[in-house]
Each structure stands twice: as structure tokens, then as C-alpha cells.
Symmetry: C2
Subunit: 356 residues, 2 copies
């Protein structure tokens, strides 16, 4: 194993050895306990999503504890929860997070920090969490080389999640894909003495090919969001899940936009972020000149239609955040099966790579 | 070798065996004979750029013939020019192209077609070129899964160049990076009986890591443009070349825009295209509300300043088209050396890939 892989394996001993790490992204309202539990049980590392509102976090942690009491994940170190928690910093309360961390008997293996008002907030969260829960590793998500270097310097994170422009849901409005971003971050980190921080790649990865590519770019693993939407464990409507499975040609059936935030009344994202979602009537009506009020009214109307509110190829109105990798997703399968299939395919490709 | 690699090697016997193919993109006004000659001499396949105005093409072909007479490239099949020609279809004349093809003694190994007014134009160009020059292989550049399938069906190209959103210069305004685009195209082609067409990846690839990643995604080689800007063989001003070497954080120091076409008076690109370039005063002044006329005036003024007209980090005004991979480029080196270094690094990574 590489030193990065060895480091991850020391920190999360249940993960599958000799293969890139597969983690499931903390998707707000979607990554409920069943999803990360299935991912970690299959040798990956799953994240629940506190998002911007951690009020349900204690209940979710209780549910995970109960599940693990009945069916422990072998090799989990004592006192550790083999699950991570993701926070969207601009909307999260650090005191409430610390209080939850103090009161939970098992400490999360990792906490994933994303989207602060300013980068300096990350340092405060990092040091506070480390003081409250020394077992917990800090993962920080970045999207530019400058941000990555600053975070390395100010926070010394245990893992950096490098998110490229193909990613679904929220991310930087201006960025490159991981094709150039990952190696440029790796070089900048190495040149500045931070070469020991393992990098995970995120954005546009749906299968073993993307994982093998990410490995060649310098990542020791990946985080997938969109692929895990097409699992029974993801807490999404069937309409949303069907849209994910149906969408094709991910570069044109999705786009980065703020319209879905605006019609849903989601306020608070710092200006540098927008979100990638499947294009539907909400998007095209705005492009056609429809005013925001009318678009919001139609959106609310669509919410009443249940699963019928979603669609692909310009149909439907409801938000289906998804990355460009959506076109590679053809069927719903268990989250654990996703982890095993993707790891198996990635390893096969990496081993075959030498037979040029 | 894979069957795709074998096919390329049969068609272009001088290319380095047992390694991904490296081709240099036909960059309008930049890819003059010295660049593709150096690339093909190093075991790649270089392209000159007819662009939208093929008037200098006969002279360029003469120059290449002369160079090859003095220093032939070993293993070149009789009658073949080990060089390709790229055409931007919306501005190119098919009759003039055919006349040049008829009169040139050595036939180009490949002709690269891009950016037609409508996809059906590609079929006419393909069949006409094949009739005029049976030795010449047809490369077609696409940027979506739908376009890729249509081109495969209507043109049966010898090679498909799949261009992702990270690419510099002109490309589709809406697309994904090759991370998801390449495998989704590969799947769609295989499912529709076109799995035998070799795919090259383009967009964001600057070094061996990008090439190894592209290989894992399903490409048998790559096309690089931006990387070859930083060679003495590229016909660009020192100011432009310096900007390429100086630019960092390629996802934020470049963006897709039409402003550089507008200030330069470049008209004719179909609406679905824009271009990625290094962000400078021209871009930021427009973002700040400057009118087009004033921006054009300042642009013309900057043209008079020579190399001083270019810059990075928001300085300079002159167009420096470049992809997100620009941040990985640190120095100027010979185009042949680029090919050899990138191939060597890619092979080393692919061979090491199995040692997980």
C-alpha cells in the first residue's frame, strides 16, 4: 500500500485494504443512517449529513449506535463510530456540534467540513472538534488550489476532499474538474510540505473507471454522492431516484445553477457556490424569462404532485441535484453492493493498466 | 496492446508502441508545421491547423514535405504524410480542401473535423475526404454523448476525440469533463455497435497523470493543446507563452466565455460554442459592466503593446486561450520532449497502478 493508503487504513481499520477508499458524501436530508451504515459495512466510509441543521443528529447517532450494537462492524477501534458526519459550516452551530460530540458515547470516525463563511472558520471548527473528540479525524472539502493550500496550512486536516466542477449539488460556481484540479493540488501541497495529507477526489465519479482515473491523478480514494442516490438506502423520493436513473448525457442534462435554491427559498449559501442539478422546467422556464415568483408558485404546485413532480429531458419541476456522472447510472442497487462493485472494477482496471 | 491501440498502430506505424497515443491539437494560427513535426518525430501524431482559413495550407504542406525529405520519420507508410490537418468546419471550404488534398503529393495521415454548422455537414466532409484521399483517416471531435453517437452512426469516423469542459480554446459551452463524458460515450458507443472506434480524450490533460487517468476512463490516447503552448514550436507571442507558464489554479484563473471572440471581432462560431481562456482585464472589465465598444478599443490598444499586452491574475488584456490544465505547466520545453516525458510518466503510472 502507498503511505496515504496505509494512513487511511490505520485510521479506519475496517476499510477494504489494497483498494481505493470509497466514501459516500454527506448529502443534506438524503444521507440518513442506513446509507453510511451500508457503505461502512461494505468496507467504505459513509457519512451522515448534519447539513445546516443538526437538530436530528442525536437521534441519527442513536439509530447508528443501535444498529452497530446488534451488528458491529469488525475491526472498528474501541470508542469509535465507523461513520462520519458532514457539516455545511455557514449554517451550522459549533457549540451545538461540540455538545453533541461530548454526549455521544462513540465518537465519529470523521467530521467533514464544507462551505464556511470564510476559510478561517475552518481552523476554529478543526481545533475545537479535535479538542472535544481526539479520535475524530477532520476531512475538509475544497475546490481550488489556493483554498486547498490555505486549509492545509491553517488546519492540517487529516484528509482533503478535492471537489471538481462535475459534482452534483453545491460546490464552487467556478472551478475545474478533478482532471487538472487534483494533480495541481497534489503538486502544490507537496511543494509546500503538505504531501502527507491523503487526497480524495469528488465530482463526476460514478463507477470503477472514475475511481481508477482518480487514483492515477493522485487520489487515494473518492467520494461519491450521485451514485449513491440510486440506492434504496438514500432518503429521496422515488421521483428523484427515477430521474437519476433515467438521465443521460450528464454534461448537458445537468448544469450548475442557483435557480433551484431560489425557487425553494434556500438562502444562506455564500456567493461563490451554486449547485449542479438535472435540468427541468424550473431551469428552462427561468432561461425563457419566467419571473422568480411565478417559478416559485409552479414549484410549490409541483411539490403537491409527489413523484410526478420530477422528470428528465426538460420535464418535471422538482430539484434533482446530481453530478455529470448521472448518465453512467443505469439501475438502483444496494449501497453496499455499489461499494463492492466499484472497488472490484477499479482494482481490476488498475491491475490491467500495466498491460499496455 | 488493446485492439484500439493496435488499430492506431496499424494506421500510424511511427507512433510509440505500448503507450497511450499523444496527439497535439490543431490550434488555429498556433499549430504551424514545426509543432506537429516535432510531435510526430517523437512518436506522437501532430496536427497543423487549417482552422477557418486554409489559404496558407499548401505552403505549410510544402514546408512539411521539405522537412520530411531531409529527415524522414521512420516507418511512415509510402504516400503518407505523418501529420494531420484540423479544420473548423463552420468556416472552411470543402471544395478548396479537396483541391488541396488532390494536389498534395503526400496525403495527410488524418484530418480532424470540428464545429460544423450542423452535424450532417460532418458526413459530407467525411465521405468527400475519403473519396479524395483513401489513405487519410477521419478524426471527429465531439463534446456530448448524443453528438458522439450521431457522428458514429452517420460518419463511421476512424477516431473520436472526446472533448471535456476543461479544454482551452473553443468547445461546447455546456458539457462535462472527460471524467464522466469519456466513459459515458464509451458505453453508449459499445451498446450501439460502435465499440471498435478508438477514443481520444481532450480537455484538462497536461501531464502523464492526466494521460493515465484518460486511459483508465477508456481512452487509448489523448490530445493536448494547452501543454504544447509552452513549447518553442508553438507560434505564439512570448507574452502569451509567459501567461501560460505563469498561470496557476487553472479552474479559477481560466473560464469559459465569449468575450474574447467579441473583443477580437471573431464572428461565426455557432451559438453552442464558447472558449476557455486565462482571465484578464478584458474579462473582468466586462464583468464589471464595461461596454463592448470600450473593451474593443482597449483591446486594440493592448495589441500595440506587444508582449506587455498579456498577463495573469487579472492583468493584461490580450486573449490567452488555455485549458484548466494550465496550472500544471511550469516551464517551456521542446514539443518532442513533452511527448516523450508525458508518455514515459503515463506508462510508469499505469505500470505502478497495479501495486495497490
Amino acid at each position: 500500500m502507498t503511505s496515504h493508503a496505509q494512513k487511511l487504513h490505520n485510521d479506519y481499520p475496517w476499510i477494504t485494504p489494497n483498494t481505493p477508499l470509497i466514501s459516500s458524501a454527506p448529502m443534506r436530508l438524503i444521507s440518513v443512517p442506513s446509507l453510511p451504515l451500508a457503505v461502512s459495512r461494505a468496507g467504505g466510509l459513509g457519512f451522515i449529513a448534519a447539513g445546516t441543521d443538526a437538530s436530528s443528529l442525536p437521534t441519527e447517532l442513536d439509530d447508528i449506535n443501535t444498529s452497530l450494537l446488534h451488528h458491529p462492524i469488525p475491526l472498528t477501534p474501541p470508542g469509535l463510530l465507523p461513520i462520519g458526519i458532514g457539516f455545511i459550516l455557514w449554517g451550522s452551530s459549533l457549540p451545538s456540534t461540540l455538545s453533541t460530540l461530548h454526549s455521544t458515547p462513540l465518537k465519529p470516525a470523521a467530521i467533514w467540513l464544507f462551505a464556511p463563511h470564510q476559510t478561517t472558520d475552518l481552523a476554529l471548527w478543526t481545533s475545537s472538534i479535535r479538542a472535544a473528540s481526539p479520535l475524530t479525524k477532520i476531512w475538509i472539502q475544497t475546490g481550488t488550489v489556493a483554498e486547498t493550500l490555505q486549509v492545509a496550512l491553517e488546519c492540517a486536516p487529516d484528509v482533503l476532499v478535492i471537489q471538481g466542477s462535475d459534482a452534483g449539488g453545491h460546490g464552487l460556481a467556478n472551478s475545474s474538474s478533478i482532471i487538472s484540479l487534483l494533480p495541481e493540488c497534489a503538486d502544490a501541497l507537496a511543494e509546500n510540505g503538505f504531501g502527507d495529507i491523503p487526497l480524495l477526489a469528488a465530482g463526476g465519479i460514478s463507477d470503477g473507471r472514475g475511481v481508477a482515473a482518480a487514483w492515477q491523478l493522485g487520489a487515494v480514494g473518492v467520494s461519491m454522492g450521485t451514485r449513491f442516490l440510486a440506492t434504496p438506502e438514500a432518503k429521496i423520493s422515488n421521483g428523484y431516484r427515477d430521474a437519476v436513473v433515467a438521465a443521460r448525457d450528464g454534461g448537458v442534462s445537468t448544469a450548475r445553477t442557483t435557480v433551484y435554491d431560489r425557487v425553494r427559498g434556500t438562502a444562506g449559501w455564500p456567493e461563490r457556490y451554486d449547485g449542479r442539478g438535472v435540468l427541468n422546467e424550473t431551469y428552462w422556464d427561468e432561461r425563457g424569462g419566467m419571473g422568480e415568483e411565478e417559478n416559485q408558485r409552479l414549484y410549490k404546485e409541483a411539490m403537491g404532485r409527489g413523484d410526478e413532480g420530477w422528470g428528465v429531458e426538460g420535464k418535471g419541476r422538482m430539484t434533482a441535484y446530481a453530478g455529470t456522472g448521472v448518465g453512467l447510472i443505469r439501475k438502483v442497487m444496494g449501497a453496499g453492493e455499489v461499494v463492492r462493485e466499484v472497488q472490484r472494477d477499479a482494482v481490476r482496471l488498475l491491475e490491467r493498466g500495466s498491460k499496455l
